[in-house]
Amino acid sequence: MTLLKVENLTLGFHTDEGLITAVDDVSFDLEAGEVMGLVGESGSGKSVTAKSLMKLNPGNAVYGDKTKITLTLDDGPIDVMGLRTAREMQVVRGGSVSMIFQEPMASFAPAITVGDQMTEQLQLHKNMTRREATELSIEMLNRVGISDAATRFKQYAFELSGGMRQRAMIAMALSTSPKLLIADEPTTALDVTIQAQVIDLMKDLVDEFGMGIIFITHDLGVIAQTADKVAVMYLGRVIETGPVREVLRNPAHPYTQGLLNALPDLEDLDTPLSPIPGDIPSPLERPTGCVFHTRCPIAMAGRCDVEIPQMGPVSTGHEAACFAVEDQRMAS
């Protein structure tokens, strides 16, 4: 069952410098129980995409006309763009859809205990009594590997270490048994040894709860270890998607290839690092045609700077938006 269907998501922001396009015509699907990685660097629009799913973008956001986000839950499909009142959006936010953020200190209110925050959202979304909510919360804290959960329950966010806070945030997000979990760079701020623990935890929880997860990160290694499929974004557009093994082993789009080449590889210490030439264009200077053509080693003048390539198949389930890929497909 397709849990989430995003079609033609387009989003811009009104700023002092003009209308900035953050996301341009992004489409993807997510099945229940599937982990999808959304990979991109700064300016790729991955965070903004995630926030759009819960309509968490700031007030100066402008959505495109053809944007359609459909969430299929137990009751049937919900058109997220059509949700207007706060009450309607409550279904989406915190009830069936949970989100965890990069900076755990920022998502815990500093003056309320961790336990209070967890029970508050349970009482709000699941209509539990305070006692039921407390029991469930402590159980979840245990489940995410926080020792001495009953004591931690009564503590404040600043009393927990970084890794524990992140786990607590995961516990909080999962305690409402969401169908869809959006994880926005959940391990970026953590030490690598803690990151490894949190990644393992998330994988176990996926197996146990069967939710769909959108995992947003810039770290391809993390995606390799956690995701089933991956979508690569650049400057607001999805330029490649596919099963994670396929995309990482046979990247089709020059950007994906460049990204993989730029990564330092512990297996091969002799090859020099090869960066992608140039800089990510500022959102004020969005390139015409293919968004990547300004840095692409195989860009074709007259075509790549004029037309926008659409997503086309590379192999089963693997798609990329590139004219070179298209040409190769036509040839074979």
């Binding site: 700023t15 002092d16 700064s42 140039g278 800089d279 500022s282 004020l284 200077e285 390139p287 015409t288």
Partner: protein, 400 residues
Amino acid sequence: MTDITDTAVTAESEAERRKKEAYFTASQGQLIWARFKKQRAAMVAATALIVMILMGMFAPFLSPYDPTIAGRDKQYEYGAPQIPIFWDENGFSARPFIYGFERHRSLATNFRWVTTINKDDRRYVYFFVQGWEYSLIDIVLGLPGRAFHINIKALTFSTHLFGVDKGGIHIFGTDVAGKDIYSRTLHAIYTSLAVGTIGVGIAFVLALVIGGVSGFYGGWIDGLLQMITDAVRTVPAIPLFMALAAFVPDTWSAEARFLFISCILGLIGWPTLARRVRTHLLTERSQEYVLAAELCGASAGHIIRRHLLPSFTSYIIVDLVISFPYMVLSETALSFIGLGLKDPVNSLGVMLQNVSKADVLLNYQWHFIPVLFFIALVLAFVFVGDGLRDAADPYASTKK
């Protein structure tokens, strides 16, 4: 390897490119101005503020009459406003005019003046007329206890913007002695601005020194100075002024009293500013680029000049503009209750003293016209200050 080339490969017009380059090379001041311009309320307020400041500064030129008792119009005490018009039953006139009148005291109005307007007696308004003398530099310092008096008068003119050929023109009316309210209002604006400027100036200098030392050195110096600041802040203003007003001898000239009041306002106002200066300094001190300069061996002077001062200049200007109306309001309140300025030094507070009589409230409402100006002045400051504050940190949004 590649250079950083302009990635603007879009088909941009030359104008767009120049606009972007202007943005990239815009200094902090230019960025703040650009942001400020976008706020309509602040721009309107700024225009109004500039107009009023100019009115105050050119007050003698713009006033047909001397605002002191010397310029009073004995024929027209408690007179209603006379607005010049261009057209009436007798025809159109390119030159604006007002009417002549006859006045007598009437039993019916409890012996107040009754004015009968004579529509046939047109008094034309002329521009750039000669009138009472005023000097741009007119310093009279008669400080008590000193062996000398300073009396400098220079740059004397007597041209005024407008006046009438016969009688008087009082576009805001007159008060009990016949003093022109319009002239007095303009001079009052000037005085209030002057008091505010001196008060803010003194407060600022003190705040800069005390807050600056406090924020820059930190540690126990900071602790000590903060205690002093808090102590001064807790001094209640009104009782202090009452005590000081009792202390000021009547022999002091109006100007001396004016300076004294301004100084007191400044001395009361510095703690708030000092706290702000300190906060700004503490934030800036811990910035990484300051550390980078220190790692080059930069002296404290260099860091202050090159990094700290430019960074908080914009904030301090905002703080100053926002403090201004408080000074003006404080002075007005004090003068209104008789503890501040007195005649002939003319401020809004002084003018408002007359308004508290019931007679005036009921019958001579034009005495309130200065209040409108004053509200406009204070609001203009507040709006401009708010606009500046919103515009003042142009770098907040450039973090990743």
